[in-house]
Symmetry: C2
Subunit: 393 residues, 2 copies
């Protein structure tokens, strides 16, 4: 039996050429053929996808390690940090900042609800925060938040702006520099469609300054980003590495870097704008299907994510049962909810290669079948048809 | 041109079947087919290689992340920790413990020199330490330290015993339970011969207790091992995960876990004892060759590592020049020194597949040629011959 197709909120289905890119002998992480030729070039090219002129770094990990590396490198004990908490992932940033001793103020947003920008601006104005952290695309609720508007509020008061773009970047537009993002924290296992195992972070000059002026070193040795500046970034790019002496302060998973490079190739071949448009279309198609079968996403349409749809289930229906049906009968993996939404929502990813009719339509067939089997009244094929119409626009 | 053969102190040359094991579609880290079927079984089988009945965990990272996860999970601000510092890697543990606020006493050992057990015992007796940390096989000097004897000293005084076995395990005998190791901290990219990207740690019941009784949570969210106990270890094995609800607190690199599984297969097929004997033979052969061409390892014979030989170069010869010759003319990567030994020593790995005549003999040919070209007087072939005699014993 083939392994199931991944239509959950991540990891995303991998293109075969990305898997194949891992067919490499080992290499020394100190070898310039790898260091300069593969790693640095790949990271440099990522800047176009991040829409930044800042340096992009990669460390072993995953999305949450990207958050942790950034938070641990920037937040000192006692530092006042405002965290937008609109779901599980926002709450993780809060916990990370608290673990390193930050004085965290959570800015709570109802699950799947809009972020009240006026209230946020007031909170920022009345507080004395060093940093503001938020999740761009909250994977637990399928809501995309206006990081541009929040960035403006942060910038107006001189706050560092930390943004989790784990499930958005390369699927939903992320404009690091335009939005004033100081650390853009993400990972390749979602919309990039690359394997799990790396964390990605871009770092602004202001964020480097904040790290340089810390009173004492970050609690982490391996994930202290300042060590990357000193050992990895070359002097001509503002770093501390003398010519020919660049080293990553931690060995980087060679094979995953090759996979990431292949992913960057694919994104460049497609073109970022076309890729973003493809995700917009897939998100719209998926939501049109939901509407046609009498369902909706948890967040309102204008907040609904184009990479992860969080479906509000009819009263009394079990997310676990629906997902199990989809898996057992159709060999497709979709996600159930997280936290308080655990058994009340389903989460379907349409990101990377799966943001397409090829993957979305069979998933809708499976979903119609599973919902029907679990007692939801629908006319079979209506959802699929509605989605197909969007794909054929 | 083929990529160079890796005969440095790590990462080690990868067997092709290990590389091939990464040819896998993605999978959800939440899928029991992966979680229970691949990840848990592989970790469970690792216990035989660790020679432990404790749980073995894996997190994204590398050797130093294994150290950091353990140190961060166990050491609280103010905790008195004794760190054996016999080289670069011992010094990293010291730095990690200091970064999380530990009150660290370094126990300095001269580079490549023996560890004075009497002095250590006295230090332990006169201090009030919570933990003792050491590196079993110091990759920077090629010296293997008596972790069994040190473990006895730690145990006698009730100290937690943290051991870095990054470049020893599966190549040099490591007896976690017999030696009283509370956290065995290692990684698959050295003697295992698996790709970079994972950290491995085994945790004793005493270490869990120390984590449970912390005053405040570890500074790391992603690498707090206690979260692994609560979310990943099943209740019947002392953990907190209810049946069917096991989750890794961080997504684990699927593909690297498949590679690790293949490595475990290979180790089991060969048999651990035979594998260790093969490494002993390779180490001995390499040192016999050095002697035959008028060189020696940095540490005395009885300390010399069977996985990494650190060669003391003749006065005035540049390690960089020798390594460059070996790379350019023979397409073999060997390592130069680290820290103060940077240009005065060479480091050659003979671990995993390269602990064999197949890899050691060509490396010796290359080394003889490079040393000769750099002015060392030797009779070509003498080193190779001496090594071959050991391999043919």
């Amino acid at each position: 039996m083939e392994k199931p197709i991944l239509m959950g909120p991540g990891p995303a289905q991998l293109p075969w050429r990305v898997v194949r890119a891992m067919m490499q002998p080992g290499e020394s992480h100190l070898d310039p053929a790898f260091n300069e030729g593969v790693l640095d070039r790949t990271l440099f090219r990522l800047r176009d996808i991040f829409r930044t002129r800042n340096e992009v770094l990669t460390v072993p990990g995953s999305g949450r390690v990207a958050l942790e590396a950034s938070v641990t490198s920037l937040v000192e004990p006692g530092d006042p940090v405002l965290c937008v908490v609109a779901g599980v992932f926002g709450d993780w940033i809060r916990e990370m900042a608290e673990r390193v001793g930050g004085a965290v103020t959570p800015f709570e947003v109802g699950l799947g609800q809009p972020l009240d920008l006026e209230r946020l601006e007031k909170t920022v104005r009345e507080g004395r925060f060093k940093a503001l952290a938020m999740v761009h695309n909250e994977t637990s609720t399928g809501a995309t938040y206006p990081a541009d508007a929040v960035g403006r509020i942060a910038r107006d008061r001189g706050l560092l702006f930390l943004v989790d773009t784990v499930s958005s970047i390369s699927g939903i537009d992320v404009r690091s520099d335009e939005w004033g993002i100081d650390t853009n924290m993400t990972a390749p296992e979602k919309a990039f469609g690359a394997p799990i195992g790396l964390a990605l972070v871009s770092v602004s000059p202001r964020a480097w300054e904040a790290m340089e002026s810390r009173k004492r070193p970050a609690t982490s040795f391996s994930y202290d980003l300042l060590r990357w500046k000193r050992m990895w970034l070359p002097q001509e790019r503002g770093g501390g590495a003398a010519p020919g002496a660049r080293r990553t302060p931690i060995v980087v998973p060679i094979h995953l870097v090759y996979a990431l490079r292949e992913t960057v190739d694919m994104i460049e071949e497609e073109g970022l704008e076309r890729r973003l448009a493809r995700h917009r279309q897939a998100g719209r198609a998926f939501r049109a299907a939901l509407k046609a079968i009498g369902l909706s996403t948890l967040p309102p349409e204008d907040l609904a994510s184009d990479t992860v749809s969080c479906i509000r289930l009819p009263e009394g229906m079990s997310a676990k049962a629906v997902a199990a049906h989809v898996r057992a009968r159709h060999n497709i993996v979709i996600g159930t909810g997280m936290g308080p939404l655990m058994d009340r929502t389903l989460r379907v990813g349409h990101m990377g290669v799966t943001a397409s009719a090829q993957y979305v339509l069979p998933t809708l067939i499976a979903l119609e079948s599973a919902l029907s089997a679990n007692g939801h009244k629908l006319t079979r094929g209506e959802g699929v048809k509605a989605a197909q119409e969007v794909f054929e626009e």
